[in-house]
Symmetry: C2
């Protein structure tokens, strides 16, 4: 759909845009402009002249259109972990008498870790209850303060029904917090209709904003001026440059800002969002399903050793497909050396993302041919592929 707007290295079939999206060609020039023409020439005046100060909100509004959020409900900044903390702390404040955060075992680790620190800091007796993804609805009861879920499971691609679970959470009076890390830019998200109180996500996966690009947070519009920020930073103050000694949160989503925004990362994000300007998310979804289906059918046919662990039904799956295989780690290393880049998740998951902006059917067929070769010709079974690096 937009392949010519991305830099895909020669000889690479990139099936890892669900982990780190490739570089939009315009990003390089945009970042350079921000470094040289803005930082270099404007110096401190860039905060006004180049609009750095307002970028978190301006880009928040652009991103909002991709996740079905109204204007002024999304702001950029920090990392997904920090945004989870802010949303979770706010959700717990809203339910002072409840005692449980409900999540599932398919949630991303950092989403499960952040409550650990929060609950040690907070003075309330609250438990984090982690159940199987399919059991969430059976554990929704009036003890639940916050239901905190990631819509698309990072390992399996299993897709929660966000509208349905949010409705069920609200029926028992729980606050809903959704992590859209693997949703934003991958499939249509309609926050306005699903109606959760909070959502968070990152921009370096399907949104292609580069390594370490800022995260986002959404607060439902009726709550933006009610939430008491746990992270009360000066950029979220109602008048940051009045330098009051008293904290007064901004009367808008801007109160979720904390410190100085990462201006260079914001520049890359700005270029990355340009790519989406005329893209229909429904079309992305349809093409992603077609690519994923083709991949599953081909791999199952040609590599029967691999076990599909993603849902077979495409409506229950995000934009990635995972297979379990005991030699998965070595196979992913071997595939990378041959230009087919997916990734590995412990203990045995080979994960492949399908991103129609820059991947097409021919890429899928070529990738499967190489996967077949790596597995059936035992290319994976070489010392350099089997040995694990310290970080993978």
């Amino acid at each position: 759909m937009k392949r010519n707007q991305f830099h895909i290295p020669e000889g690479v079939i990139y099936l890892d845009g669900n982990s780190l999206g490739p570089m939009p060609k315009a990003a390089a020039a945009r970042v350079q402009q921000t470094v040289v023409d803005e930082w270099g020439d404007m110096l401190i005046t860039g905060w006004n002249k180049a609009g750095w100060f307002h970028q978190p909100g301006v880009l928040g509004n652009r991103l909002a259109t991709l996740i079905g959020a109204p204007e002024n409900t999304v702001v950029l900044g920090d990392t997904l972990s920090i945004k989870v903390y802010q949303a979770l702390a706010a959700g717990l404040q809203m339910r002072p008498d409840r005692t449980v955060i409900l999540s599932d075992s398919g949630n991303f680790p950092t989403d499960l870790y952040m409550p650990d620190g929060l609950l040690k800091t907070i003075g309330r007796n609250i438990d984090l209850k982690i159940v199987a993804p399919e059991d969430i609805e059976h554990h929704l009861d009036e003890n639940i303060a916050v239901m905190m879920l990631t819509q698309v499971d990072y390992r399996t691609g299993r897709l929660h029904d966000m509208a349905d679970l949010t409705t069920k959470a609200h029926a028992v009076g729980a606050v809903a917090l959704w992590d859209l890390a693997h949703s934003a830019g991958a499939l249509p998200v309609d926050l306005g209709n699903c109606n959760p109180e909070f959502a968070v996500g990152c921009t370096y996966k399907y949104l292609n904003a580069g390594p370490g690009s800022p995260a986002f947070i959404y607060i439902r519009s009726d709550l933006t001026d009610k939430v008491e920020p746990a992270l009360a930073g000066w950029m979220g103050h109602s008048s940051p440059f009045a330098f009051d000694t008293q904290y007064t949160p901004a009367p808008s989503i801007e109160r979720m800002r904390v410190g100085t925004p990462p201006v260079l990362q914001m520049a890359a994000l700005s270029a990355a969002l340009d790519v989406w300007d005329d893209v229909l998310m429904q079309e992305v979804r349809e093409k992603s399903i077609a690519l994923s289906e083709l991949f599953i059918v081909q791999v199952e046919q040609r590599c029967p050793q691999l076990t599909l662990i993603s849902p077979r039904n495409s409506e229950q799956r995000g934009s990635q497909v995972s297979f379990a295989w005991e030699h998965g780690y070595a196979a992913i290393q071997a595939l990378t050396s041959l230009g087919v880049i997916g990734d590995f998740r412990a203990p045995d998951v080979m994960r492949f993302g399908f991103t129609p902006l820059y991947i097409d059917e021919q890429d899928v067929l070529n990738a499967v041919a190489i996967i077949e070769k790596v597995i059936n010709e035992r290319i994976w079974d070489q010392a350099q592929f089997i040995q694990r690096a310290a970080v993978t």
Copy 2:
């Protein structure tokens, strides 16, 4: 000392490096390399191949040498506000029976705001007590859990005696947390000898790492494996890529990492630190004092309308000089239009930073001549300078 390594725009005398340092020439190429050669060509493999994953610790060790910190006590990431929160939460945990955070009215607003959110989140009855900078030592008693101070006052440049106050805080059993935002890169800091439990700071001022560059946190080495992180993110986990559902903090300063590091900002920081490789901080300090003294003497002589609000004694002053003047806002705007860039801090402070890496005596004399002209010829008294922008 290093002027040829910085890009200073033609016609500009930059006296605002205490707010945002200018661009080291090498930063532009370094960032472009990270964008194009690393993100562009390495894609996801950049986390290992380009060393992105380890940058927060690697750069932390480089920065440590500039603030007298031992190896493996400093890590980069997030923003100063977030690092204040982490350190403050840890300090409060260490003194569970105490009831007061002591700070001063010269602390930077975000340092005073972060306790607001923390204290609303935490379940303990703790007060933030804000006293005059010179009164800190008289308020140190056995109720104080954490003494939280910024070494150099952002408005006046007043310099606290970090060694002396830390000793006094320890004498009453309080934890010491120092913000080095206006110290790192400005004057010799000896954390190892001053012995505070925590320090934090930013890298976009005197360290010249660019707008929104990451912050740093220091933990005294006997405490690094004892502090329970309030922000329990996956990058601070002992095995981030094992994807355990249980949080186990890294057995090192790395536990203060939270989410994915801002790789492009880290690249700029890396180039900015190169400039410091053969710089002696004592020499920077001596030259900064000489420049500041020259500036004060000249301004007092030629612009008697201005009132020095920085300490007159250079040993009690950081690397900036501030004058109060009722028309300060307009004067700073007029000066900027003529290429002399300082900044304004409400209500009436004209602030000028002296950074010997790229500013010399001739710059100071030229700047004073323009300041004299702006003030004595009433150049400030024009509509475009008097009107305040929304953000300044």
